[in-house]
Structure formats: C-alpha cells, structure tokens
Amino acid sequence: MMNDLDQLEAQSIYIFREAFNRLDKIAMLWSIGKDSNVMLWLARKAFFGHVPFPVLHVDTSYKIPEMIEFRDKVAKEWKLPLIIGQNKVALAAGMHPDQGRVTCCSALKTEGLKALLAEHGFTGVIAGIRRDEEGTRAKERVFSPRNDTNEWDVRDQPPEFWDQFKTDFAPGTHLRIHPLLAWTELDVWRYIAREGIPVVDLYFAKNGRRYRSLGCAPCTGSIASTASTVDEIVEELETTKTSERAGRAQDKESEDAFERLRAAGYM
C-alpha cells in the first residue's frame, strides 16, 4: 500500500520525467531552501541517480552566507551541473531592499532569472513552489506557460487534467514546471525526515529562534522556535497556526504584492 508520501513522490517523479521527455532544454531552479533540496532528491530518484539537466541558482548577493556554503558543498558532493546567475548591472547600480522590497525582488530575482533563461535558451524551468504557500500559487498549474516576456497570464491559464500537461507552446515562450505543487510544508519536512535529505542548518533552532523559510538576509526573518531537529520541526508544524511565508517581508507591501511579482515572472 502506498502512503501519502509515496504517492506524492511518485507523482513528482512522473512530472520530472514528463518535463525531461517533452521539452528540449530544461533546467531546475535551486534556491538552496528545503523545497529545492527535496526537488534535487526527487530528480535523482526520477533519473536513477543522475540529474540530467543544469541546476540554476540566481544569486542576489544578499543570501545568508551559510546558504552559499551549503550550495557549494552539495553541488560538489552530488556532482551537480550548477549554473549561477546574477544581475550584476542592478547590483552595480546599488540595488538593495531599501529601494523597495518588491522592486529589489523584481530586479535581482525575476530579472536575474530572465537573463539566465535568455542566455541559455531554456524552454522549461523547474521550480519548487507549492500550493499551500500562498493564494496565487494555489492557482498554479503543474506545467505553467510564460509568454515571451516571462509573464504569467493568471486570468487565462490552460486546462490541466488527467496528468495531461501543456507541453506544446509557441517559440519564444517557455514553461514553468512545478513538481512540488501538491506538497505541503509539513509533507516536505516529513519527507526530509524519511529520506534523510540534507538541509541548511539555518532551519534548526539556535537560542530559541530558527528560519522557517529562507530567502535574502535583509527580507527573511526568523521565528521563535525550539525545534532543533527535523523531527522536532515536523512536530512543531503539526500544531502551528502561523503561515510559512509570515517571515517574508516582500509579500506584505500591498494586498496584491505577491500576485504582481509572480505575474511579472517571479517564481
């Protein structure tokens, strides 16, 4: 009998294999957070120990240093085909969250990603977003088209049913592929516990605080917590009533801040 994690795993593997078979040039985003580590793990399962496409990291330069250390260590251990992108022009011009968090996110993450996609001509980008994170992500498709300027037309998404995904698209456009869409934060941690997947230490409580969601240092807050192991995190999440992105400042600038970020090409 397959349990819920087995089912999620099998479905995610199916999605990975569809993307790999149907699209010419795909890559996977790696934010170094727990979700993208789970994705890496699933990719290695889907392709029998191989990751047959590049792993992209969009480096905003404001990531917490431990994250970069972790990235380089894991990339080496798992022999990942890692490509690092950065919006150097915006950084040279002094882009910083002080200029507005949404503005900064758009410039460093969205534009940084766009440049990377254009440079390599990827037609599919695998991203680790989940429905339970946020209301507009709850409306996403597993295979989600982006137009030639990377925009998401949230008002007219393609039908998607019976695991028949949209894999035909006009030249110049691309697809975002979301293998973790059906997972919840708790599923991710239970799976990390079951499989023994490595994650950055920042997730574990020190002196009564831990990071629940990882982003850039200036915009990501820690939460009060005593959970210092994966099992304790699972236990904490089973009872918590606060949302995961509560510590993410860029979501809160206005009612539609996140929708606008995503429509413009954010993950």
């Binding site: 349990n3 429905r131 949230v154 393609p158 039908p159 949209k166 009533k241 929708e259």
Partner: protein
C-alpha cells in the same frame, strides 16, 4: 489511518456560494493560519465591503474585484476524521476549463445550489461533467437558506429538482444538505435553524465519502514514458497506471506487439534495496531481458489481458476550444503517454446538458458535450473508460492548446487484423531468387550521395540478376506520400510508410534500397523494429562540409540564406546512427569505389552463402 487526503471538488453555478462555503469549511475546521481572518477583514474594509469568506480562496485581484472565482485552487484541511483536499472550482461558464481542471482529479464532489435561484444552467452542466469525468459520489449543498427564511418547502423543491436531473444521468446524491455558508449553519454541526432537517452537516457528508478504489486489482497497464540510457542500463520508465508488475513477468508492448521479460525493477544509486515487484501508482523503471524496440507511448501489459487496439473509437468529448469543433477537423489525441493524430470522422450527437436531449450537429460549440467518432492514422492502444478509466480517457490538442477531453466508449473497428501465414516461405523465395530479401536503409545528409549510390547499386545488382528496387525520397513524395509536408510529424509518417512498404517488398523476396535523409534516430529505429533481421542501416557518412561543398541541388545555399526552414544539418538536427550495420566514408572516393564496397557487403549478407545459412 490514512494520511492521504480525500480529494473533494466544490462545483455549481456562478454566485451560488462555492468559495464562501470553502472559506467557511476551512475556518470552521481550524485550517486557516493565524491572522488570516483579521487580514481578510482588513482587505474587505479597505474595499469598503462586508466580510467575504470567498477571499480565502479567491486570492487574485481580478477575482476580488469582480466577486467571482476565475481559477481553481485547492487547500487541505482535516474534518476531525480524515484529511481532505478541497478543490474550489469556478462557476462562471467562461471558466469551464478551470472547473474541469479542478474537478478531474477529485474523488467526490459537493454541488452547491442557491436556495433562492434554484437549479441553474451551470448546476446542470457541472453535474453532467462530474458524471462524465467518472465521479459518482456527489453531495448537494442547498446554500443561502437564510435568504429563503430556512423554508423547508423551498428546500424540498430545490432538492426534488436536482434529484430529478441527477437521476437522468444515473447519479443519486449521497446527501442533500440545507446550509448557509455565510452564517456557518450546517457546515460543521447541525444548526437549530433547520430543526426539520435530520441529515448530516457538510462535514458529515464529506466524512461519508469513500476513497477511490486502488487500481492495483485491474489488469497491468504500464504506459512507457521514456527510455533512458544514462549508464550501461537501458531503463524503460513509466508509471504503473493499473495492476502490478514483478521481475520475470513477460510484458507485451501494444501497439507494436513485441514482448520481453522484466529482468529487473531498477532502484537508484542512492538505494541498494532490490525491488522485485511494484504496484499501481508507482513511477518505475524496468530493464528487459531482450533488446526489443520500445518507445514512449507504447503500453506494457500481460499477454492474456491486452488493451483494445483500434484505428477508430467512439468517444464522449467535452469541447473547450474557442472555435467550434467540426467534422473533418484534425487534432492531436493524447492518451496516457501516447500521442495519436486523429480526424473527426463523425459527430454522432451533440448532447444538450440542459434537458439531456441530443441532436444532430455538424459542429460542437465551446463547452458543449458530444459523441464523436475519431479516426487515427496508426493503431491506438486503450481501454474503454468503463473498463479502466486511466487508459480510457484522453485530451485533444489543437495547435499549442488543450482544447478538450473525452472518454472512450468503444472501439469501432477492431478490424480483426491477424497475421496470415504464407504458404511460400521466405526461404523458398530466397532459394528461387538466389538471394535474401531485405531493406538496405541509406541515411545521411542532403548531398551525401545516397540517391547516386542507391541507383548505381541497383543497376549493378540488377545486372547480376537480383530482384532489387530503389525507394527514393523525392520519388515517393510524388505518389505514396504526396499528402505529406516536411513538419517533424509528416517526416515521421513519411518514413513510417516507406519503412512498411520496404519491409513488404523484402518479404516478397526483393532487396529494397531506400535513399532518405531520415534524420531522426527514433524514426529509423521504428522501421528497424518492423523486422530487425531484414533491416540494414547504411550510414552514408559524408561530412557536412563536403555535402555543402557539393551542394548538387543548391539547397545549402538557400538554407544558409534562410530561404528554406528546417533544413537538415543547418537548421534542423541530423541524428547520426549509433550502431549502423555499415558506415560508408565517401570523402575522397569515387562513386564506383563506394558502390563496390557496398556490393561486397550486400553479397556477403544477402547473397548465396546467406541463403544457404537460412537452413543451417
């Protein structure tokens, strides 16, 4: 017991309160994060409107601005007895594609009907589509009971109306519950406002639904998703849609009919557990004991429980395309991992979901349901929806878009194609001719010299008394393949036809020489698979530089200028053979020398000695 959430979709006519009900359910069961209700109060205050439960799910600005759900979304909660994944679906007919996106994955449904308005167009359409999608567990929530003063008489009217409609499509609702989503009545507990109602609350109705039955007890269906050669293993990957598989099983692949045994079920490098069997739902990879040709789209099964094979199916289709579907339209049909090119051969009836009547029609409008006959170029492997839903449903694609979905009623033409055994054996033919039949498949770039070599080889062999004939790329396009263009799909079909004809000639004892660029490895592998014994792949391996220097037809010049699109070697790929039977290096050699080399090869493989060894 199970952590797997039951998937429930909430459907119904626009503005009957689906999202409000979902928001309420989440709130009543404590599923909303801390501060969510306060946050939404703030949002509603800013908009100068009363508190709106629907905003929990309606996260998009356009949805909040217009007060309607545009796209489907889903959230998990716990009823206290079981985890549930609740799927909110839009009710506006403009967004039917999104309703289907939400509903197709559900195991049960709640149909919401406004007590005041009663059963409306989309109530019926959604009810009908749920049934078509295979959902049989439907509960009805008669909402906004507060607007009809909790009138039992009005409730009974609406209940009778919806029961009558659902009975027409063979559905009996599990419960019909009077509710007020806005007021929170009969959501999680019995409300005193409906003392006359004895049934369960909405949560109670959800608890009464049964989880979908496992597909493990059905016949094995493993549609091939991909074939991997990352390392020394050749792994056939796919998800087991139904049944189970174990090491040692003899699998047959339809439609090709090839078969081999499962040598192993593969794990991955990070695991050293030996897997001996796998069940429905698992994404697996297997290796086979024989190197048979297998490709994406084929369905692996056991010999004694095969799927149907047919070129024509009758199907019930819901059409989502902007333009109407018409007789003769050509579409791509995606069923499991296979893709077939089909034509609408008949529109048998268009179903009026309002009164369930049917009428004749030459076309099917947007959001309508119809019974069609679809005809495919190649044989399709499938089950009827009733036998095995996962292999009995498909989507239709036009251009870049999914424009409809359907379920297979039955196969129209099983065509009863059987292999007929010839009385004249291949050996007898070979003895009479003095050589074996076969297909010499010349592949290479444009200008590589394929046609020149083929024609000269034909002349030399004919002079020796051989039964020999050339099938040339340009020539077949005047007749056999005059309906085909140069798209990838048409090139594939072109090669398929030439391959089939070539093998028929070969069976008749003739040596067939073909001269086609045939740039795609998979296309050539498919021709090889028809009869691997008879097929000899000859790579005319003239390099691109040399071909371009020769440029006998001036085509490279045009391609470089961008005047010819998809030109092999310039703007379209050429996938060179990995293990050809023979590679001819023509650079610096005359046609004479090259053909002499080829004649020697042909005589060794197809000549007298080869004929003698047929009996050995």
């Amino acid at each position: 017991m199970s952590n797997t959430p039951l998937k429930i979709v909430v459907v119904g006519h626009v503005d009957h309160g689906k999202s409000t009900l979902v928001g309420r359910l989440l709130h009543e069961t404590g599923a909303l994060p801390e501060g969510k209700v306060e946050y939404l109060k703030e949002v509603c205050d800013k908009r100068g409107m009363p508190f709106e439960w629907a905003f929990v799910m309606d996260a998009l600005q356009a949805e909040r601005d217009q007060g309607i759900t545009i796209d489907t979304s889903q959230l998990r909660f716990h009823t206290g007895n079981r985890p549930v994944l609740i799927i909110d679906a839009p009710g506006h007919k403009e967004f039917l594609k999104n309703m289907i996106t939400g509903a197709a994955s559900a195991e049960a449904a709640v149909l919401v009907i406004d007590a005041h308005e009663g059963v409306q167009e989309q109530s019926r359409r959604h009810g009908y589509l749920l049934h078509l999608l295979g959902l049989t567990q439907i509960a009805v929530a008669v909402n906004k009971m507060d607007l009809v003063d909790w009138s039992q008489a009005r409730f009974q009217e609406v209940e009778a109306e919806i029961r009558a409609y659902l009975a027409g499509i063979g559905v009996v609702p599990t419960h019909v519950v009077p509710v007020s989503a806005r007021g929170g009545d009969n959501i999680n507990a019995a409300s005193e406002k409906s003392a006359w109602y004895q049934g369960p609350s909405v949560i109670g109705a959800l608890d009464g639904f049964a989880a979908a039955a496992s597909a493990t007890d059905l016949a094995l269906r493993l549609p091939v998703q991909d074939v991997y050669k990352f390392d020394s293993r050749r792994i056939i990957s796919g998800r087991i849609e139904s049944g189970r598989i174990k090491v040692g099983d003899r699998l047959t692949f339809s439609p090709s009919g090839k078969s081999a045994r499962v040598a192993s079920i593969e794990g991955w490098a990070g695991s050293d557990i030996t897997v001996l069997s796998a069940n429905a739902g698992q994404s697996v990879g297997v290796t086979l004991d024989e190197p048979i040709f297998v490709e994406r789209g084929q369905v692996a099964h056991l010999a004694d429980a095969a799927p149907a094979l047919a070129h024509e199916i009758r199907a019930r289709v819901f059409w989502l395309g902007r333009d109407p579907l018409a007789l003769g339209d050509r579409l791509k049909l995606k069923l499991a991992t296979a893709e077939y090119h089909v034509e609408v051969a008949a529109i048998e009836r268009v179903i009026d979901v309002e009164d369930l009547g049917s009428h004749q029609g030459a076309q099917v409008g947007r959001n309508a349901v119809a019974e069609l006959v679809l005809r495919s170029r190649g044989a399709m492997a499938f089950d009827t929806f009733g036998d095995n839903a996962r292999l009995g449903r498909f989507v239709l694609v036009h251009g870049y878009d999914i424009v409809g979905g359907g379920i297979v009623g039955d196969a129209l033409d099983n065509r009863n194609i059987f292999q007929v055994d010839h009385k004249v054996t291949a050996e007898a033919r070979a003895r009479a001719n003095g050589h074996k039949g076969g297909v010499l498949w010349l592949t290479g770039l444009s200008g590589a010299g394929k046609s020149t070599i083929a024609m000269e080889l034909e002349r030399r062999l004919f002079q020796k008394g051989w039964q020999v004939n050339v099938l040339d790329g340009d020539n077949v396009r005047h007749g056999l393949c005059s309906d085909l263009g140069f798209s990838h799909e048409d090139r594939t079909e072109n090669i398929r036809r030439v391959g089939e004809i070539g093998h028929l000639f070969a069976k008749a004892g003739m040596l067939v020489i073909t001269a086609f660029i045939s740039p795609y490895r998979a296309d050539r592998d498919r021709v090889r698979a028809i009869d691997a014994e008879a097929f000899h792949e000859i790579h005319v391996a003239t390099g691109l530089d040399e071909c371009e220097r020769r440029d006998p037809k001036g085509l490279y010049k045009k391609a470089r200028k961008g005047e010819i699109a998809d030109f092999t070697g310039i703007s379209a790929p050429y996938e060179a053979p990995e293990n050809p039977e023979l590679a001819l290096i023509t650079d610096g050699k005359s046609v004479e020398e090259t053909v002499t080399e080829l004649v020697a090869y042909v005589e060794a493989r197809f000549g007298r000695n080869a004929v003698e060894s047929m009996t050995a």
